[in-house]
Every structure is written in structure tokens, then in C-alpha cells.
Amino acid sequence: MKKKVLFLGASGLIGPYVTPGLEADYDLILTDVKPHPLGVPVRQVDIRSYAQVLEAARGADAIANFTVVRGDPTDSFLVNTLGAWNVARAAVELGIRKIVHTGPQSVRPAYEHEFGLDEAPGAPGSGYYGVTKWLGREICRTWAENCGLQIISFVFAGLGPSPEGLQVKEDIPFFRVVWEDLQHACRLALELETVPGGFQEFNLFSYPANGKYTLDKARRILGFEPTRRWEEYFRRPAGARPVSEAVG
């Protein structure tokens, strides 16, 4: 029998691209406050309401929280911070152990000029988006450590489709995750039996080639690898003549 997963934020900027890759393996309860951009039926659930989250989560084996408000002075807190709190509380009340949480990475720009970063301490800043998601993350960590929840948090700098064809004269988008890889990571997260310490956060991306950020922790704990060597799409032809010669 498939695991039942409550998916919060199914109509947002990420949900429509992730859920198709999970449908074959999970019984998804798609929810959001707004209609799905492709007309897929979603249940109206407002993460700001504990009662709504609790009711939607009944019978679920896991909760995936892909909700976000980026810049509103009030709703950033109510969705990103109190929303995470509502999810954790509902999980504990219903005996749901697994939560997949999401948010923006919090290590840029503090470590913008560094390399080899795997698990740098977060520096979210005081902007509404960063700090409210950071508080939500801290709520997740606190509830995991105190209540036995198993929470995987994926944080991103950019998300999008996989490259198509050679990307000429383009640098590797080093902190970007493609949809196939995010779907893969979500499956790994949902299947991971034990999360060390109850809470683990992963800077998730698909292009580790330039060594700026590493996937060592994601490999070690989740068994995550990008589904393809996406850097190959950004390979420069070796031995190419300088432009001045090429144009004769």
C-alpha cells in the first residue's frame, strides 16, 4: 500500500513540478490556498490555520511542506514560521513522524566567496523571506529534538528544469536543483527510516562540479546523487580555436 503524503503548497512555485514525480509511489493529498496552475484538483488548506492542517493531515503517513510567502510583512511570519509550527504540532498530535520541510538556503551571501561548503551555519539575514523561513526551520529542529519527529529540510537557491542541449558559454548554475533531482530527493527523504538527531537540513542542488558547495552530507545520510551528470550540458568544447582565428 502506498504511503499517504499530505503535500502542502501543491499549487505554488515548486509543487506542480515535484508532485508529478511522486504520484507513482505515493498517495498524495494535494493542498493549497489557491488553484493548481494546471487545473489539478487540490484541497483548500491554509497552513496558517492549525485546524485546517490537522484535519488535512488525518490519515497521512508523512507531511511535505512546500508552502512559502516571500515578502509580506505579516504573512511571511504566519505562513513560513507559524505554518511550520502548525505542521509540527499536527504531526505530533496525529502520530505522524516524517516531515519534509523546505526553505531557501541561508548560507549565501555570508559564504559567497568560500568553497567546499557542506554544512555551513545559516546566516539568513533580517529580510522577511529569509528570517521567517529560518524561524520555521528552528521550530522544526526543536520539535524534532523534543518529540521524536523525523524531519528532513531541503533548502534551495534556485530550482528549475533540467538543461536541454549544450549550454554554450554558460557557467554551471552551481546552487540550482533540477526537478528530477528534487523529486528523487523527496523520495529518499520520505523513505529514510531514521534521521540522525531527528532533524537534518540539506543544501540541495544538482551541479556539484565546481566544488563551491558539496553534496557530501546528502550522499552520506540520504544516499542522494543527482540523477544525471548535469554538468555535462555545460562542457566547453576542448581545443577550440580562439574567436579571432575562427573568424579568419
Binding site: 511570519f77 514560521t81 533580517s126 528570517v131 529560518w134 523534543n146 518529540c147
Partner: protein, 260 residues
């Protein structure tokens, strides 16, 4: 300095206002128009130095008004009233409310803030360790611990981003020494009068122009000086603060007398 003091229950904001009024102009900010200034019955000149502005920490317009012409902010970090919205409202007050206040403050050019928090964040550690500011807070899931912890996180990000001296005072359990005479002693006791003095001393920190944000930002643990402390207060003592109320009757004298 012109100092804004956010209201707090149990007479704390009044005690802070009274402590500050001897040297600063004080403006109390809170929902109640009858906020005690702590100077009731005191010299009229002192009383004239304390004003009130009514408003909510959750309203940006109120916070904007409150910080007009203010040099420093003292936020005791204790929600003043029962929250009809329950724990959700408490969390919002500590998180969004702190953000509203600090955003207004930095936009008004405030360069010093002192935020109250709680030593309760370390209750999960075993009794046989000494706790200092170098220990990682371990809040529980109850809002009494989680909310102040999250307020600290908000304040930290403002210290990171702005030329702001931000000091967090993690306070012990606030009481008046004479009111707990005969009660079982508590390792976390902190007399409210000493707490008020701690805020006044912390307000003297000025590192707003420090290049490194880690200099602008500091935690200090504050509680009574007892013979066998769990919470070491050496960092706070180095600021010049000396607790006057150490519950000697309960513990058998201050640390010095015990030869620590």
C-alpha cells in the same frame, strides 16, 4: 539617551524605567495607557523624564511612532498580557513583533537594543554542568521557551545586517527577594531590581560601528550570585553589574562568602 522601553509584566518594565530615568529620558511603549512607570511616588523631576506611548508591537505604524527620536530600545522580551489567540498569538508577538520593533528601530537610526530572554532555554541540560553563554540553547516546544528563543534569532539577524549593538540578556526567574523568603531555593532566581540594573548596564554597550557583526552581538546570562551556581554569570559581571539580591537566606550567603 532617549530610551524606549517595551512594556513587560510583573513590574519589570516599570523597574527598568525607574532605573533608567535617573540618567536617561524614558519612553514606555505598550498597549496599556496606564503602564506603571515604576516611579509612582518618586521625585517629580524623575517622573517627568518618563513618558508613555500607546500601541501594539504587532502594528508597524505604532512601532514607527514609538521609536521617533529614540537612541536605544529596551525590549524585556516578556509578553505583557494574556493572549486571547493562545500560543499562536504568543509566537507571533515574539517573532513578528520583535521584527516589527527592530525594523522600525533601525530605520529610525537606533543603534542600541537590549532584548530580554530566558535562562529557561538551558533547562534540558543535566544539573551537573555549569552553563555559560557558550552553550547551545535547547528550548522545549512550549512557547514559554520557544518564543523567546525565536525572538533571539530575529534580533541576531538585525545585528548581522545593521550597525546595531544588540545585547541579549538571558534572565533568570524574576522574583523579589523578600517575596520568596522561605520558599524552596531556585538556581534561576533573579531579583527584579537586579534585572533592571542589568538592562541599564547592558545599554552602555556601544559597538554599532564594529566591522564584525559578532562584536555587535552578545549574549549575557543574568541571575543571582549564589554559592553553587548552575549558571555562571562571569560575563555579565565583567560589564560592571553586581547583583545586590542573592537570596542569602535560602543559599547561605554569596559566592565570595562561600570561598568560591
Amino acid at each position: 539617551m532617549r530610551v524606549l522601553v517595551v512594556e513587560a509584566p510583573g513590574g519589570l518594565s516599570g523597574a527598568i524605567a525607574a532605573e533608567l530615568a535617573t540618567s536617561h529620558e524614558v519612553r514606555l511603549f505598550g498597549a496599556s495607557p496606564d503602564l506603571p512607570t515604576g516611579l509612582e511616588g518618586a521625585d517629580e523631576r524623575l517622573q517627568r523624564g518618563v513618558s508613555r506611548t500607546v500601541g501594539s508591537l504587532l502594528e508597524a505604524a505604532d512601532a514607527w511612532q514609538a521609536v521617533r527620536h529614540i537612541d536605544a530600545v529596551v525590549h524585556p522580551g516578556q509578553m505583557p498580557a494574556l493572549a486571547p489567540g493562545g500560543d499562536a498569538q504568543v509566537l507571533e508577538w515574539y517573532t513578528r513583533g520583535t521584527h516589527v520593533l527592530l525594523k522600525a528601530a533601525v530605520e529610525a537610526g537606533v543603534r542600541r537594543v537590549v532584548l530580554g530572554s530566558t535562562l529557561d532555554l538551558f533547562g534540558a541540560y543535566p544539573e551537573d554542568v555549569y552553563i555559560t553563554e557558550q552553550w547551545r540553547p535547547r528550548p522545549g516546544t512550549g512557547v514559554a521557551q520557544l518564543a523567546p528563543y525565536l525572538a533571539e534569532q530575529v534580533c541576531r539577524e538585525f545585528a548581522r545586517d545593521y550597525r546595531l549593538t544588540a545585547t541579549v540578556l538571558r534572565l533568570g526567574r524574576l522574583v523579589l527577594e523578600e517575596e520568596v523568603a522561605g520558599a524552596p531555593p531556585d538556581l534561576m532566581w533573579l531579583d527584579r531590581r537586579d534585572a533592571a540594573r542589568a538592562f541599564a548596564v547592558a545599554l552602555q554597550r556601544d559597538h554599532a560601528d564594529a566591522v564584525h557583526w559578532t562584536t555587535r552581538w552578545q549574549f549575557l546570562h543574568v541571575c543571582a550570585d549564589i554559592p553553587n551556581p548552575r549558571y555562571l554569570i562571569d560575563a555579565m559581571r565583567r560589564t560592571g553589574w553586581v547583583p545586590q539580591h542573592n537570596f542569602a537566606a535560602a543559599w547561605g550567603g554569596p559566592a565570595e562568602a562561600a570561598g568560591r
